[in-house]
């Protein structure tokens, strides 16, 4: 069965092309690019909300994009059980919409962070089922607001319902600590309660080709396809 997918582009999105390339390389179905002013999404299995600086990050990262026309139908898509993957700014947008718990605030060190980071699976979902427990993935991050924050009751909710998909960890030959941006409980990515929506700060679409410094990003889309 062919797997159809779409990527939404907002003004200021800059990883939309990368997400399209990622989907085209690893899925066997149609891959569509949807402009944020569209009223409805086509019938697809997966929607990627890509990284970038939608609306210049003005007001707050993701805040303006969360009010775009297309968002109503994105919410419908999620209610129908369709998959959504929000990467970086996409994660921020999904949080602003309220599809995911918590918020992404400025990195603890108050600086943009662009480097390879290391993550591993915390709780299982369709997005990480091919990844072994304790398997360390190397995937780039590039963000200024990637510090995941939520209150104690939300954190308990995330743990109780096993919604933490990925957490930062130490890698080899790395002079950095595991927690690169100050996120609570090293959280790098979370799902919603139904586990059909994943928001993550690392960019799997920058780690899958043979010339990339890692191919670990494949595992996320391959998990979904498996």
């Amino acid at each position: 069965m062919s797997f159809k997918s779409a990527v939404i582009t907002f003004p200021g999105s800059n990883c939309d092309r990368d997400a399209l390339v990622y989907l085209k390389a690893l899925t066997n179905g149609e891959v569509l690019n949807i402009w944020h002013e569209e009223n409805s999404l086509p019938n697809v299995d997966l929607v990627i909300v890509p990284g970038g600086f939608s609306f210049g990050d003005y007001l707050r990262s993701g805040a303006m994009a969360s009010k775009s026309k297309i968002i109503n139908d994105l919410i419908n898509h999620s209610k129908k059980g369709g998959y959504i993957l929000g990467i970086c700014n996409g994660f921020q947008i999904l949080s602003e919409i309220g599809l995911l718990k918590g918020a992404l605030i400025q990195n603890k060190r108050l600086k943009f962070l662009g480097k390879n980071c290391f993550i591993k699976k915390r709780y299982q979902s369709d997005f990480n089922c091919l990844i072994n427990k304790d398997q360390v993935l190397k995937i780039p991050v590039a963000h200024n607001e990637g510090n995941f924050y939520c209150d104690d009751s939300d954190l308990k909710y995330l743990h109780d319902n096993e919604l933490i998909a990925f957490e930062y960890c130490e890698g080899k030959f790395s002079n950095s600590i595991a927690n690169i941006n100050g996120s609570i409980d090293n959280i790098a990515g979370i799902t919603n309660k139904d586990k059909n929506i994943l928001g993550m700060m690392p960019h799997p679409e920058r780690a899958f080709q043979n010339f990339h410094s890692s191919q670990d990003g494949k595992l996320i889309l391959e998990s979904l396809l498996s």
Binding site: R17, Y22, K111, F112, G114, A142, H212
Partner: protein
């Protein structure tokens, strides 16, 4: 017109007399503003033109040399790359965040104005003594600004350099380079074709920022200038630039644009004059039509350097289509004038012509100076006493000096993997990106050795070009062409002028020897505060090519037990300038020995043999040797907890600079084949040791592997905080 007003506009009385004699009338204040903007060094190269003309700018792959927004090189199959480097030095000292951010914005516009999609940026930044709060503030602001702009617009930053030297205490340098990919049948130029074509304004509204920015950039600072000149610094909005870039590229790929010019230095004045001059036509522009952020006088509109603005010429029947594309991208758009056949630049406001000048007096009659210059004296020969130096102190010295440390604090603030085509990220000998939808790769590096150039401007420049060349060769890239950014102090000092003249001559020699033409560039003079000049800093950006990314050689160790081979000649302890400066703290430029003569034969011989052994898959990794010698090169090659064990006869040679110097690693089993090839080509080489795991040993002295690694990777951040 009164003399003070003329001088305030950066013109000399003699220059004013030329204008007056030609026009035979007094100038309006707006016209004076135009000459001020167009006749400064930044726009008309009046000091450097005579010498720049001597540079080689052509060969069979150059599609566009200097004179357009960027140079363009042919990569075959209709692929081309556009690239250029540009300085934003003065603004970055006065307001580091916005000054450097708009430097990135400006160079990106130069690229997409030509129809090329930017695919990479690099930056070459220099600061003074890090112990001062001022330098820390500048470093933080500049890096933040470069990152902010490039990250937001989504172009990967793939490399550059960051140097500290007290000559930059009062004049830090920010040079930004950008590279774009273009289809060769879709290149756009600034030259308009149609008389009656509509001149359209695209992008941000015009405000008061940056008025007289270009003439500020052509003046010496005095210490109290900083606050006074801050309003001349432009403020950038990378989100707007992203929209502008997508909008313009869509217009160009739809064939709706006839010509385009970005409004950079000297804003609408220089962009419209440029168009008129290139097309040998006239322009008629109604200043009342310019979209404004706030009420402005005609004078202010003409000289504003507000960012993210473009001027384009379109055929009248395309007007509605252009409008609708730009509306989708939420970009301001206005028809502001037309192309005429008068060969005059005319700006009107409220039904009155406030400027009416023939194009040729602004452009062709711009002053050109042949300034007096001195050639440096011959040097005495010194033999230096190095008895106090042992390997341990030399290692310690390096790791206490910012110039030798890993600078991930800088480049981790940049997004280097966006666009998904990055192959080598910053911190390696060159950055490398793949051309999207093809196997071709482009590598780029920026370089300058100011100390070499101060010692001998001509040879120093040749060494700089050679170092860039080696940076690319060691990844198996073929260097193609150069963009240059000539940063110097005031040319009114004949010693400085000598540095300018001789280093351009060195650039000419080396570029001719290596067949790497200069296709674009920028000149930044007056980098001087009172009597404190910067070291001569002619930065070059060089691009290299390989037609398949799979041929790229790693700069880092790949396997334990690989042999480590050294080729090239040491400059030896008495003639390695950085070694002497940083290990022996030789400070005065007069104390250094003359630079060793350039040996192009050796350089070329080594390059040729490297390509040969790369082609035979005999090399597992390779890196070139520069400041910090063999030792630092090996440290840069560490990854995955690999270490090294080496032996070199003269311990100083481990830290000295090299001619044609490279380190390569090979599988033990390939040693015989390598030996054969080297002997056949008469290459002198040394098998200096092997790759180990988690250990470092030099001439039988063991070092603490994790301490060295930790110092190298983390000391930068410790020192700057």
């Amino acid at each position: 017109m009164n003399e003070d007003l003329i001088k305030q506009h950066g013109l000399t009385i003699d220059e004013f007399k030329i204008i007056h004699k030609y026009l035979k009338r007094d100038l309006s204040i707006e016209e004076l503003g135009i000459f001020s903007a167009m006749w400064n060094e930044h726009c008309c190269y009046k000091t450097s033109k005579k010498w720049l003309k001597k540079l080689p700018t052509e060969n069979n792959i150059v599609i566009q040399g200097p004179g357009e927004n960027a140079g363009i090189i042919d990569l075959k199959d209709n692929d081309g790359i556009a690239f250029k480097i540009e300085s934003h030095n003065h603004p970055s000292y006065i307001e580091p965040f916005n000054g450097s951010a708009t430097g990135v914005g400006g160079i990106l516009r130069d690229i997409f104005t030509m129809g090329a999609r930017p695919i990479a940026t690099l930056d070459s930044i220099r600061f003074g003594d890090i112990t001062t709060d001022k330098t820390k503030y500048l470093l933080n602001g500049v890096v933040h600004g470069i990152g902010h702009y490039g990250n937001c617009i989504g172009i990967p930053n793939i490399g550059g350099e960051c140097e500290f030297d007290s000559s930059y205490d009062y004049n830090n340098l920010v040079n930004a380079m950008a590279i774009g990919h273009v289809k060769n049948d879709r290149i756009f130029y600034s030259k308009p074709k149609t008389i009656g074509g509509l001149i359209v304004y695209i992008g941000s509204k015009t405000g008061k920022d940056g008025i007289h920015g270009a003439s500020m950039a052509s003046d010496v600072f005095s210490e109290d200038d900083e606050d006074e000149k801050r309003p001349s610094v432009q403020v950038g909005d990378p989100f707007m630039e992203k929209l502008l870039m997508e909008g313009c590229l869509e217009l160009m790929s739809s064939g709706l644009i006839e010509s385009m010019q970005d409004m950079g230095a000297a804003g609408i004045t220089s962009s419209s004059v440029e168009m008129a001059s290139k097309g040998e036509v006239g322009v008629l522009i109604n200043l009342d039509k310019i979209p404004l952020r706030e009420p402005l006088s005609p004078y202010e509109i003409l000289l504003s350097e507000s960012q993210e603005r473009m001027l384009a010429v379109i055929e009248p029947e395309n007007n509605e289509k252009v409008k609708s594309i730009l509306k989708r991208w939420q970009i301001d758009y206005e028809v502001i004038g037309e192309i005429t056949d008068t060969k005059r630049v005319v700006f009107s406001s409220k039904n009155k012509n406030v400027v009416d000048l023939p194009v040729n007096i602004i452009v062709d009659d711009a002053p050109e100076y042949d300034r007096e210059f001195y050639i440096p004296k011959k040097r005495k020969i010194n033999d230096f006493d190095l008895t106090n130096l042992n390997i341990e102190n030399m290692v310690d010295n390096l790791f206490q000096n910012l110039n030798y440390l890993e600078k991930s604090w800088v480049f981790n603030q940049y997004d280097s993997t966006v666009m998904g085509d990055t192959i080598k990220e910053p911190g390696q000998s060159s950055g490398i990106v793949k051309i999207h939808d093809s196997d071709k790769v482009i590598g780029a590096t920026t370089d300058c050795n100011p100390l070499y150039i101060r010692i001998n401007p001509e040879k120093g420049m040749e060494y700089t070009v050679l170092e860039s060349y080696r940076n690319l060769v060691c990844s198996n890239l073929k260097p193609l062409a150069i963009t240059n950014n000539l940063n110097f102090a005031s040319p009114h000092d004949p010693n400085i002028m000598g540095e300018i003249v001789l280093s351009i001559n060195g650039l000419r020699k080396s570029a001719s020897q290596l067949d790497t033409p200069i296709v674009s560039g920028n000149v930044s003079l007056y980098n001087q505060t009172n009597d404190r000049p910067i070291k001569p800093t002619p930065v070059i950006g060089m691009v290299g090519f390989n037609d398949n990314y799979e041929n790229i050689i790693s700069n880092k160790f790949q396997n334990e037990s690989d042999l480590i081979i050294l080729i090239g000649n040491t400059m030896s302890k008495n003639s390695s300038p950085y070694f002497l400066q940083d290990q022996l703290t030789v400070k005065k430029v007069t104390q250094f020995n003359e630079l060793i003569d350039i040996n192009y034969d050796l350089e070329k011989k080594n390059i040729k043999v490297l390509y040969n052994i790369f082609d035979h898959n005999l090399v597992t990794s390779c890196n070139d040797i520069s400041r910090g010698g063999v030792f630092l090169t090996l440290i840069k090659m560490l990854q995955n907890n690999y270490g090294f064990n080496i032996n070199i006869k003269d311990k100083f040679d481990i830290f000295c600079e090299y001619q044609a110097g490279y380190i390569l690693t090979i599988n033990k089993n390939d040693y015989g084949s390598i030996k054969n090839i080297f002997e056949k080509n008469q290459i002198e080489y040394q098998n200096i040791g092997e790759v180990t795991k988690e250990s470092i040993e030099i001439n039988s002295k063991k070092f603490d592997y994790f301490k060295i690694l930790n110092d190298y990777l983390n000391n930068f951040e410790k020192i700057i905080n």
